[in-house]
């Protein structure tokens, strides 16, 4: 059998490189999936809105609004990403994320459930409760 020439060795080298490249990305995908499976929570990112974070972490949105000292919005939920809120409050995004994480921890077991939003206690909805 003829030996490998330079061209064949280059193909072998490219093959090894591509296999490693594929392996690295496969590993990253699997690692991310395993992490997701173990920790149900998303990492809080600057693009996320308070509504999204509340939903993802399974806590009532008002807990997060209250933690940041924001009044509940009259015209529906606050759609702004937290980086905008941080800018408005002259805080760093990391600081806001820290405050939110703290509020989330205190709204979940073993802490007692946070209950209904404070403003709803003053104006109960009519005929809706069972």
């Amino acid at each position: 059998m003829k030996r490998f020439g330079l061209q064949q060795w280059l193909v072998v080298l490219a093959f090894v490189l591509v296999v490693s490249f594929t392996g690295i990305f496969a590993l990253r995908a699997v690692r991310r999936a395993v992490y997701w499976h173990r920790h149900q929570d998303e990492t809080i990112r600057p693009w996320m809105s308070l509504g999204y974070i509340a939903r993802s972490y399974g806590v009532p949105p008002w807990v997060l609004y209250q933690a940041l000292g924001l009044p509940p919005k009259a015209g529906g939920p606050d759609r702004r990403p937290i980086r905008e809120i941080a800018r408005e409050q002259h805080r760093s995004v990391e600081e806001v994320i820290g405050i939110l994480q703290d509020a989330i921890v205190h709204a979940r077991p073993p802490y007692p459930p946070p209950g209904p939003p404070p403003h709803l206690e003053r104006e109960p909805t009519q005929g809706r409760s069972p």
Binding site: Q8, T22, F25, R32, E42, Y52, R55, R79, R80, P81
Partner: protein
């Protein structure tokens, strides 16, 4: 702050125009975290912040328009430049082979690079343009592939609406795994072919 954070923040604040713009430039070949953005759009639909039919229409139109820009530029503008460049660096033969391949596998190549191997999309657009792949067939494969891509990714975002970051990252990695597997198969096949031919000769 990462580009992902900026793009997704803009999507949340400005909605459809951002979706349109980002998908358009991505189809031309500028790398943005596009799969994550479509998944995020699906999540925003589920949360009632965007409308499903609007997201699907705008995203599909942007993708198809972007593909056509790249195809058109390569077909009517790029030909001369590529010819001159390939002659100068001596890869004329390779370009001809790529053209032949595109003509033969063009349809399925265009279709698969729209939704399954999205990382190759911009290259396939350029290759199809240079190879003067028939425009009518390009449109058909492109429209089918892009609509499928949009519906698939927005659908995934809709179903996993509270896990956008994780799903987007997994999909982003899997796209590159697909590219890697295809190139691995091609290179592996070349090696096997070489070894077989030499066994017969020797």
């Amino acid at each position: 702050m990462s580009i992902t954070d900026q793009v997704l923040s803009a999507l949340l604040v400005y909605g459809l125009p951002v979706l349109f713009g980002v998908i358009l430039v991505c189809s031309v070949g500028i790398p943005f975290p596009i799969s994550l953005m479509l998944v995020a759009a699906g999540s925003f639909v589920e949360q009632g912040e965007m409308k499903l039919w609007q997201v699907i229409t705008v995203a599909s139109v942007a993708a198809i328009l972007g593909d056509h820009l790249a195809y058109g530029l390569s077909r009517w503008g790029g030909r001369r430049v590529i010819n001159r460049l390939s002659r100068r660096i001596g890869v004329e033969q390779n370009i001809k082979q790529a053209e032949a391949l595109t003509k033969r596998w063009g349809g399925s190549g265009i279709f698969l690079s729209r939704w399954l191997i999205t990382a190759l999309g911009p290259w396939v657009n350029v290759a199809s343009g240079i190879a003067v792949y028939p425009w009518r067939r390009f449109v058909v494969w492109d429209v089918f592939g892009e609509v499928l891509w949009v519906v698939l990714y927005v659908g995934i975002g809709y179903v996993f609406s509270n896990r956008v970051q994780a799903i987007g990252e997994i999909l982003g990695n899997l796209t590159w795994v697909m590219v890697g597997l295809i190139v691995t198969a091609i290179l592996g096949w070349q090696l096997v072919k070489y070894v077989r031919v030499n066994e017969h000769v020797g």
